[in-house]
C-alpha cells in the first residue's frame, strides 16, 4: 500500500522556536491514524503544515504522490484534504445548513455568472446540493437545527458540525484536531463510533489528534507520537502503550 499522505523530514521554525522538527511519517489509504503528544508538542502545527496554512522551513509533504509545497490552503483542500480546527472555526453567522452547503462549493459546476442568470441548470444543481447537504446533516443528527445560526449551537454540536462541513468538501483524508474536546465520556464514545462509521462510509483516511488515551487506543490502527516537535514513536496501539519513551513523555504526565 503506497502512502496517501507522506511527511518527509518536515521542520518548521517560528523565530527561535522549532515547533516541528524533522518529522517523517505516513497515513495510508483508508487508514485511521492517531497523532498524540503532550500540550505544545506540535500536533496542530503538523495539521497547519499539511493544509498549507504554514510552509515548512525544510522537508516535504506529499499527498497521493503529489508534492503540496507552495500550494495555498484552498488548493490543498481541492486535492482531497479536509480538516477541523482545535479552536472551532465555523462560519458563526451562517446557518448550520449554509455552513455545510458552502463547503460543497468546490464540486459546483455553476459560478457567479450562473448565480445571476439563474437558469434551470442552476436551480437543478442547487436542489441536488440541498439534498446532499441535508443527507450529510442527518448522519450527524443535525438537520433538526439546520436553520439556526452556527454560533447558537451547543459546543458539542459545533464540533460535530465542523466534521460535517469538512466531509462536504469530499475529502480522501480528514484531519481531526481534538474533535472530542470538551465532551463527556458518553459523547466521546458516540463520536468515535461516528468517526469509524464515516471512515467506512466515505472510504476516508483519518488523522486524529486526541488527548484521551482510551479513545485513541480504541479506534486508531496506528499512532504517531510527538514530543517537543520531534517524533518519538510510531506503532500500533499495543506497541505505543508499552513504549517506554511514550510512557515517559506522555502517558506518565497526562493520564
Amino acid at each position: 500500500m503506497s502512502a496517501l499522505l507522506q511527511l518527509n523530514q518536515v521542520t518548521i521554525r517560528f523565530g527561535g522556536l522549532t515547533a516541528v522538527s524533522e518529522v517523517s511519517g505516513t497515513v495510508g489509504q483508508g487508514e485511521l491514524v492517531g497523532l498524540i503528544g503532550p500540550n505544545g508538542a506540535g500536533k496542530t502545527t503538523v495539521f497547519n503544515l499539511v493544509t498549507g496554512v504554514y510552509q515548512p522551513t525544510s522537508g516535504t509533504i506529499s499527498f497521493a504522490g503529489e508534492s503540496l509545497g507552495r500550494l495555498r490552503p484552498f488548493e490543498i483542500t481541492r486535492r482531497g484534504i479536509a480538516r477541523t480546527f482545535q479552536n472551532i472555526r465555523l462560519f458563526p453567522s451562517l446557518s448550520v445548513f449554509d455552513n455545510v452547503r458552502v463547503a460543497f462549493h468546490l464540486h459546483l459546476k455553476h459560478d457567479a455568472v450562473h448565480a445571476v442568470t439563474r437558469g434551470p441548470k442552476f436551480f437543478g444543481e442547487e436542489t441536488t446540493l440541498r439534498e446532499r447537504t441535508r443527507e450529510l446533516l442527518s448522519i450527524f443528527n443535525l438537520e433538526r437545527v439546520q436553520d439556526e445560526p452556527a454560533r447558537s449551537l451547543p459546543y458539542g454540536d459545533q464540533r460535530r458540525l465542523e466534521i460535517v462541513r469538512a466531509l462536504a468538501t469530499g475529502p480522501r483524508l480528514l484531519l481531526l484536531d481534538e474533535p472530542a474536546a470538551g465532551m463527556n465520556p458518553a459523547e466521546k464514545v458516540d463520536l468515535m463510533r461516528l468517526i469509524q462509521f464515516i471512515q467506512g462510509k466515505f472510504k476516508l483516511a483519518i488523522l486524529l489528534v486526541e488527548h484521551d488515551m482510551k479513545v485513541v487506543m480504541g479506534v486508531c490502527q496506528r499512532i504517531h507520537v510527538l514530543e517537543y516537535g520531534r517524533k518519538i514513536a510510531e506503532g500500533t496501539p499495543a506497541e505505543i502503550r508499552s513504549n517506554p519513551a511514550v510512557i515517559g513523555a506522555y502517558l506518565g504526565k497526562d493520564s
Binding site: F74, T77, F91, S93, D98, V102, P149, T169
Partner: protein, 311 residues
C-alpha cells in the same frame, strides 16, 4: 417560466418605465430627489457587497464612481457629437452604452486596486482605497482633457427615472442573486472566517476580488447616471466625503443586509437636501451619527429581531 427574482426585476423595470413616461407631470424637485435616491441605492448596495457581505472595508467607492462618471460623460459628449446620432438614439442607445463603459472602466480600476491589496490581510484595503480615491481626484484635477479642476460641464441630461431605477434594480438583483446561491454563500463565509473558508476550498482572494470588481462596476454606472443627471461634474464632487456618505448608508442599514441598506440609502438621500444648508457641519453630524450608531445599534438601524441570513 422565469424564476421569481427575475419576475420582480421585470416588474420594477416596468414600473420605472411607466413612472418615467409620466415624469413630466411630477414636481421637478421631487423628481430630482427620486433619481438621487436611485443613484444612492446603487452606490450603497454595491458597496454593501464589498463592505457588508464580504467583510472588506473599502473607503474609495466615490473614486470608482468618479471613474464611471467621467468615462460615461466623455462617451456621450465626445462620441455623441461625432456620431451624428438622432436624439432618440443618443438617449436610448449611446447613453446606456456609456453607462456600461463607465462601469467597465471602474471595474477595471477596481481590479487594479483590489488584486494587489486584497491578497493582504487586515486593513490594507481601507488604506489603499482611501489613497486611490485621492489619487483619482488629483489626476482628474490635472487632466485638462476632462476640464481639470474646473470640472466637466455641458453633459447632456439623459438620466431619467427609467435608467436610474433600471440600473438600481439590476444592481439589487445581481447582488441578491449572487448571495442567494451556493457559490454566493462563499462571500459570507469569507467575511465570517477567512482561514476556515480557505480550509473549505474557497479561493478567498478570488472571492474578495470578485466582490470588489462587481461593486466597483456598479459604482461606475452610478457615476454615469450622476453625471447625466447633474450635467456637471468636478473632481471634488467625488472626494473622501462622498465615500464616507456611502459607507454611512451601508453601516446605518446594517452591513450585509439587503433591505436595510436600501432603506438607509433612501432615508439619507431624502434628509440630505435640507441638511446641505449646514455646509461642513453636515459631516460632523454624520460622524456623530456614526459614533452613536456604533455604540447603540452596531447591527444597523433597521434590523428587526429576525433570524440573520436565513437559508
Amino acid at each position: 417560466m422565469l424564476p421569481r427574482s427575475q419576475i420582480w426585476l421585470l416588474a420594477v423595470l416596468g414600473a420605472a418605465a411607466v413612472m418615467s413616461a409620466v415624469s413630466g407631470r411630477l414636481n421637478p424637485y421631487w423628481l430630482d430627489v427620486a433619481m438621487g435616491v436611485g443613484i444612492n441605492i446603487i452606490l450603497a448596495v454595491s458597496l454593501n457587497l464589498i463592505n457588508g457581505f464580504t467583510g472588506q472595508f473599502s473607503l474609495g467607492h466615490a473614486g470608482f464612481m468618479a471613474v464611471g462618471a467621467y468615462t460615461s460623460a466623455m462617451v456621450t459628449t465626445v462620441l455623441g457629437s461625432r456620431l451624428g446620432l438622432s436624439p432618440v438614439l443618443l438617449r436610448w442607445g449611446l447613453f446606456p452604452v456609456s453607462l456600461v463603459a463607465g462601469g467597465l472602466l471602474a471595474g477595471l480600476a477596481g481590479l487594479a486596486v483590489g488584486a494587489p491589496s486584497l491578497r493582504l490581510k487586515g486593513d490594507y484595503l481601507a488604506i489603499v482605497t482611501l489613497g486611490f480615491g485621492e489619487i483619482i481626484k488629483v489626476i482628474l484635477q490635472n487632466l485638462n482633457a476632462v476640464g481639470g479642476a474646473r470640472g466637466l460641464s455641458g453633459i447632456p441630461s439623459y438620466t431619467n427615472l427609467f435608467w436610474t431605477f433600471t440600473v438600481a434594480a439590476v444592481t439589487v438583483y445581481v447582488v441578491w442573486g449572487l448571495l442567494n446561491s451556493t457559490y454566493g454563500r462563499g462571500f459570507l463565509a469569507v467575511a465570517d472566517d477567512e482561514v476556515a473558508a480557505e480550509a473549505m476550498g474557497l479561493n478567498t482572494t478570488r472571492y474578495k476580488i470578485n466582490a470588489f470588481v462587481v461593486g466597483s462596476f456598479f459604482a461606475g454606472a452610478a457615476g454615469g447616471l450622476y453625471a447625466h443627471l447633474k450635467g456637471y461634474i468636478s473632481p471634488t464632487g467625488f472626494d473622501f466625503n462622498k465615500s464616507i456618505e456611502i459607507v454611512v448608508m451601508v453601516i446605518l442599514g446594517g452591513m450585509g443586509r439587503h433591505l436595510g441598506v436600501i432603506v438607509a440609502a433612501i432615508l439619507l438621500t431624502v434628509v440630505q437636501e435640507p441638511l446641505r444648508k449646514l455646509g461642513d457641519w453636515r459631516m460632523i453630524l454624520y460622524a456623530l451619527l456614526l459614533i452613536g450608531l456604533m455604540l447603540t445599534r452596531p447591527q444597523g438601524l433597521f434590523v428587526w429581531p429576525l433570524k440573520r441570513r436565513n437559508a
